[in-house]
């Protein structure tokens, strides 16, 4: 099968700043792809380029076999988008939202009506067909936005921070839905700031920084390649004095504010020592994607 989305040598500048800078990205069909990166890394611009909403300064975009942005209208017939900002129609009910959105794809009313029960069941909104949008909770609105993106039965779905602002229950519901889509063979491209979300859902992750992909791989590969398997986080007043001591036990120590992050293959020694330090609190955990992300993109704020 051919790749649903191929970005090659993509660049885009705004006022002399290269927001996307020679980016290459190729999606595998039927997989969930994560696009991670600090604010300003070029994630949203990359999505807009991929959808053909804007044109690149250099490079090519191939979306479902169509060159973008020239054939954007054709390609987008089989693409679904869950935007970051809620854009549901507040004057409409749940059903009217789906019906109206389906018409933008040239679908007939009857065709959309036939699909609505499935979409409502999928998004856990069965029985809410006639509810006005303003009566829905934040989680329900996000799920409806997801259902709306599926109205045209897309092959490729873009999700721009689909769970931002949701409570854990609502996030889990969205994740269930996304797993179901992956099970159906859909290709997903997901941006998120939640590393646990990316780790849970994505088969392949691309980390973006300064407009290019700096690493790519499965969450497990990335953790294995880029970070020590164990992390001990140390907090407390005595942390500063203990810093030199920690570095003798651990391969790498990083201080961030009031916390010392110790990365190591053998956590037993540190933990043993820490048990004898009443002035310190600590947390021992396996390394995760967030550790990789922070190592690769740094701890500085990007606003």
């Amino acid at each position: 099968m051919t790749s649903p989305l191929k970005l090659a040598g993509l660049s885009k500048s705004y006022a002399g700043v290269r927001v996307v800078d020679g980016l290459d990205l190729e999606l595998e069909p039927g997989r969930c792809h994560g696009l991670l990166g600090p604010n300003g890394a070029g994630k949203t611009t990359t999505l807009r380029l991929a959808l053909g909403l804007i044109s690149a300064d250099t490079g090519t975009v191939d979306l479902l076999g169509y060159p973008m942005p020239a054939e954007a209208a054709l390609a987008r017939r089989k693409v679904g988008v869950v935007p970051q900002i809620d854009s549901l129609d507040p004057d409409f009910t749940v059903r009217e939202n789906l019906l109206t959105y389906g018409r933008y794809f040239g679908m007939k009313g009857r065709e959309i009506e036939a699909r609505i029960p499935y979409l409502l069941e999928f998004s856990g909104l069965a029985g809410k067909a006639d509810a006005p949008i303003n009566n829905l909770s934040g989680g329900m609105k996000r799920r409806l936005t997801l259902a709306r993106a599926l109205v045209n039965d897309p092959d490729l779905i873009f999700l721009d921070e689909p769970t931002t602002g949701l409570d854990p229950q609502a996030r889990h519901l969205i994740w269930q839905g996304l797993r179901r889509l992956i099970g159906q063979g859909k290709t997903l491209l997901l941006t998120t700031h939640f590393m646990d979300e990316a780790e849970r859902l994505c088969d392949v992750i691309s980390v973006l920084d300064q407009g290019r992909v700096i690493v790519r791989g499965s969450p497990r590969e990335l953790i294995k390649q880029h970070i020590e398997p164990h992390v001990v986080e140390i907090y407390g007043d005595a942390m500063a004095e203990w810093k030199t001591c920690a570095s003798t036990f651990c391969r790498r120590c990083e201080e961030a504010g009031e916390t010392l992050f110790c990365y190591t293959d053998t956590p037993e020694r540190v933990v043993e020592e820490l048990e004898n330090q009443p002035g310190l609190r600590y947390l021992h955990r396996p390394a995760n994607l967030e550790d990789v992300f922070l190592k690769l993109t740094g701890r500085d704020l990007r606003d």
Partner: protein, 253 residues
């Protein structure tokens, strides 16, 4: 190229309007009628015939044109701005196969359609009160209203495209709409103005609309039909083209 891709956008606006039709009708239609009847009877009682007809009859054509203008303008400023900027409706549509041109054409034709309601309401008053001279000729007011709605919808979308917020629209009302109402011949014939001001007023789109509408109410064939009609189309087309370019710069950069 014109195709029917804009229709789902038109239809979306129509469906929303249908849900809120009653209060929206009241606001859109009652206001110009009250002006026309209030001024027509009140002021008309103090005046001799204007242009050879009772003041109310004179006022009817101007009211029709300016209420169509108002309706198309409000729809493309406040309502379109809500959809574009606040509700992000346009951005949601742009993720589908529809293009920005489809969205803006949908808005253009929607605002034009909606403004026709104002025209029909005023025409009902004209017919009911017998303010017309020749019924057949009064029917020709319908295409005039259509061109007028198109003209101001196109211009309104251009203003919408550059507006940072709702307050910005006040400039357009103060600098364009209000002067047009006062100089375009709604309340008195342009011949009442000093010659230099009348020369300027002749260029205003509302003046063109009233130059067409007034003779039709009074049962005369308007002069320079092609000139006035083309002027209305030109203002609309130029406004719409600007709207397309400016909105593209705003949303798709």
């Amino acid at each position: 190229m014109i195709n029917l891709n804009w229709y789902p956008v038109w239809r979306r606006n129509f469906l929303v309007w249908k849900k809120l039709a009653i209060p929206s009708l009241l606001g859109n239609l009652a206001d110009p009628m009250l002006y026309m009847l209030g001024l027509g009877y009140g002021l008309g009682g103090l005046l001799q015939a204007v242009d050879g007809v009772p003041y109310l009859n004179f006022l009817a054509a101007g009211t029709l044109a300016y209420s169509v203008m108002n309706s198309a303008t409000f729809e493309t400023l406040y309502s379109a701005f809500s959809r574009m900027h606040v509700q992000k409706t346009w951005e949601a549509i742009l993720n589908t196969p529809l293009t920005l041109k489809d969205v803006l054409l949908g808005e253009l034709f929607w605002a034009t359609s909606k403004s026709q309601l104002s025209a029909v309401a005023i025409m009902l008053v004209i017919w009911t009160l017998g303010l017309y001279d020749n019924f057949g000729m009064s029917l020709a007011l319908l295409p005039v209203a259509l061109l007028t709605g198109f003209c101001f919808a196109g211009m309104g979308l251009a203003i919408n495209a550059v507006s940072p917020n709702y307050d910005f629209f006040l400039y357009y009302f103060t600098l364009a709409i209000t002067p047009m109402i006062l100089l375009g011949g709604v309340f008195y014939p342009p011949s009442a103005l000093p010659a230099w001001l009348a020369d300027i007023a002749a260029w205003l789109p509302l003046t063109h609309a009233i130059e067409l509408a007034r003779p039709l109410v009074l049962g005369r064939m308007p002069a320079d039909v092609v000139l006035h009609g083309m002027a209305l189309i030109a203002y609309g087309v130029v406004g719409f083209s600007a709207a397309l370019a400016l909105t593209k710069r705003r949303l798709l950069k």
